[in-house]
């Protein structure tokens, strides 16, 4: 019996299985357990949540393999981990640890300002952030099996995730009404691979799932992003920077599953402790915006 592993279909398969759920940032095994018990579909292992990276400054790198392995031992749900943009050696390490998904993430300090990782040769699927359709299609061209909005990680402010999701969806809709000649010009303007542009124009959606990330802090934020077309939400600092991580995590899971039912979202939003404080975008200097990393 011939078993094929690591091909694109198998990578895409896991992305499909994560739909309709919440992926939570965790920094140790104990938090991972809280996330799993709260109903997370996966956890993202990282050394510091984005809010702390923002506060502490310095170079943010891939997490300690020991911490990732402790998390893998603790939970049965998929374990994801972040590597720096362009840092394929970190990605190789994460693959050797058998993490289930690698996030080539702007939250960490980029290792290469010109190139993202060539993701096709890896057996582990990759997720990448995008602010617009061109960025999403370049990452898919490089082999990403999943796209998420960049939002503004660690801000606790949903405005950038909304902007990126609306931008992406508007550009997809525009492609669907273009004639075939116009698609090449669109591909040129976006700097995106023509074959994938054609595919998106025909299907009216990305060829890989499309999730939301960056600034989700409340059940209502999750419901908003899901109604805007996100197929799952990533919650980073929003959970473990709040006053009631376990309860809030569970409330966000429920709101995501029932995002179209305001009565349920109201019910799970009731009586929560304070959310993370959050930042007005104007308080974040342009050069400190994480979404600007990568291209």
């Amino acid at each position: 019996m011939n078993k094929k592993t690591g091909n694109f279909e198998v990578k895409l398969g896991l992305a499909e299985m994560l739909k309709g759920g919440v992926i939570m940032d965790v920094t140790n095994a104990e938090q991972a357990k809280i996330a799993e018990d709260a109903g997370a579909v996966a956890v993202m292992a990282l050394e510091r949540v984005p809010a702390d990276i923002r506060k502490d400054g310095g170079v943010a790198r891939m997490s300690d393999p020991k911490m990732i392995q402790e998390i893998q031992k603790m939970v049965k749900i998929p374990v994801m981990a972040k590597c720096r943009i362009g840092h394929f050696a970190e990605a190789q390490i994460l693959e050797s640890l058998e993490v289930d998904f690698i996030d080539e993430s702007e939250v960490l300090t980029p290792a290469d300002e010109a190139n993202h990782i060539d993701k096709h040769p890896f057996k582990v699927p990759f997720v990448c952030g995008a602010r617009n359709l061109g960025e999403a299609l370049r990452r898919i061209g490089e082999g990403a099996a999943l796209i998420r909005t960049k939002g503004e990680a660690g801000s606790g402010n949903i405005v950038e995730a909304v902007r990126h999701m609306r931008q992406l969806n508007a550009e997809i809709r525009q492609l669907t009404v273009m004639d075939h000649e116009e698609l090449m010009a669109a591909a040129k303007n976006m700097g995106a691979p023509f074959s994938i542009v054609e595919q998106v124009a025909k299907a009216g959606k990305l060829p890989v799932p499309n999730f939301a990330a960056g600034g989700i802090a409340t059940p209502a934020d999750a419901a908003l992003m899901m109604q805007l077309g996100a197929e799952t939400v990533f919650v980073g600092s929003g959970i473990f920077k709040s006053e009631d991580p376990a309860v809030r995590a569970n409330a966000i899971v429920k709101a995501t599953a029932h995002f179209n039912d305001p009565k349920i979202v109201a019910e799970v939003s009731s009586g929560l402790q304070s959310a993370m404080a959050g930042l007005e975008l104007s308080e974040i200097p342009e050069e400190e915006r994480l979404a600007k990393r990568g291209w």
Partner: protein
């Protein structure tokens, strides 16, 4: 026309829905017991069984499902097999578990070990996609094995339930779905 429900609390619901639409089945996406009461059969999609289990409880579906899985046609894939297994080696079974099997969550390993292979089903060779799939380690007398890989059962049937540890909805062929529709609704 019979109405096929697809449990819509988490997972690859859309993939299942598009296959059944192609087969001209009428479908309802099930979020609560009202939705379920309109269905003649139910599909459990792939996804994370722990999340689905929690959302089934939260959505007050436990009792309705317990009743439903006793008598109506069920098609369970991957996480669905875990939700319906009476014994789970590394987790606690649900209240509505009915399949007389033991399973291990992610029994085939982490994502790097997810694979595509061929299975023999009713004399035909079919593509089967396994994503962090559960492994069936024991089967009871009531269970019929319809397909195996490396001598491990991957497609089984018990009374009104057809269960696959792989994802027929991720392959182009819809042989398994057609088999289920014809057998139970034909």
């Amino acid at each position: 026309m019979r109405i096929i429900g697809i449990l819509n609390l988490q997972g690859d619901v859309e993939k299942h829905a598009s296959v059944f639409k192609k087969l001209n089945a009428e479908i309802i996406l099930v979020k609560n017991s009202d939705d379920l009461s309109k269905c003649d059969g139910l599909v459990f999609p792939g996804g994370e069984s722990s999340t689905m289990k929690m959302m089934i409880e939260f959505s007050n579906l436990t009792n309705a499902l317990t009743d439903f899985v006793q008598k109506k046609p069920i098609f369970a894939t991957c996480a669905g097999v875990v939700l319906l297994a009476k014994t789970i080696l590394n987790d606690i079974p649900t209240k509505f578990a009915k399949l007389d099997i033991s399973v291990k969550r992610n029994g085939w390993g982490r994502q790097v070990h997810s694979f595509i292979s061929e299975i023999d089903f009713l004399g035909k060779s079919l593509e089967a996609v396994f994503i962090r799939a559960p492994k069936i380690s024991e089967i009871g007398k009531l269970v019929t094995v319809l397909a195996k890989i490396e001598n491990e059962p991957v497609l089984i049937e018990q009374d009104n339930i057809l269960a696959s540890t792989f994802h027929p909805e991720l392959s182009e062929h819809s042989v398994i779905q057609k088999y289920w529709l014809e057998k139970y609704f034909g």
